[in-house]
Amino acid sequence: MDHFILLVWHAFLVAVFFAFLWRSDARGRKILFAKTFVIMAVGAFLLGWLMYPFP
């Protein structure tokens, strides 16, 4: 099982959830989805590389 795929899947589900929970218009939902997804998926990816040199 590819861990990165799981990370992306988790980020996708959470981003969709909060987009529909906190925004009621289509544009607001798209923006919040994009922000949440990028912060979770790309942020975790970058954090992983930042931790790479540490034992």
Binding site: M1, L6, H10, L13, V14, V16, F17, F20, L21
Partner: protein
């Protein structure tokens, strides 16, 4: 007019939103918890109902397929109640999974609620990922219940 309302509310020791709040049927909140999305469906929010149901179900099924373990109360471990409460947020999905894992005899045992098995396989590669998905699904559904409360009470449209 709004200032008058605010003054009246303040005189009763309440905020304006508390003054305007409609009573919320506890049965509605129970149904919202039991079946993810049903609360929004009953309030006429069909799109949100479908999305919430799909997201919670997808997260829960992913967690189970990854051999994740549902949290259950454990003796001498008060913290386990918090985890169990989070997972209990899955409503019917949680109850069905516990029934699936423990069987009816296991659920109706003398030591209830202790001694239950949460399923999953601790040596599976996806064990901790699965737990994360299961906990996330439960917590998301609890937020859905709070959202149903806000919509039903008039705090949110």
């Amino acid at each position: 007019m709004t200032a008058e309302k605010a003054q009246r509310a303040a005189a009763r020791g309440k905020t304006e939103s508390e003054e305007n709040a409609r009573p919320v049927a506890k049965g509605l909140l129970f149904l919202a918890w039991l079946i993810p999305g049903l609360g929004h469906w009953l309030l006429g929010k069909r799109v949100r109902a479908g999305v919430f149901a799909a997201v919670v179900l997808a997260a829960f099924v992913t967690g189970v397929l990854l051999d994740g373990e549902l949290a259950v109360p454990q003796q001498n471990s008060p913290l386990s109640w918090f985890f169990a409460f989070g997972c209990l947020g899955n409503g019917m999905l949680y109850l069905f999974r516990l029934l699936w894992v423990n069987g009816l005899d296991g659920l109706i045992s003398a030591t209830f609620p202790y001694g239950l098995q949460g399923g999953g396989d601790p040596v599976a590669a996806g064990f901790f990922y699965g737990k994360t998905f299961l906990y996330t699904a439960g917590l998301m559904n609890l937020l859905v219940v709070l959202d149903v409360h806000d919509i039903a009470s008039g705090d949110k449209s």
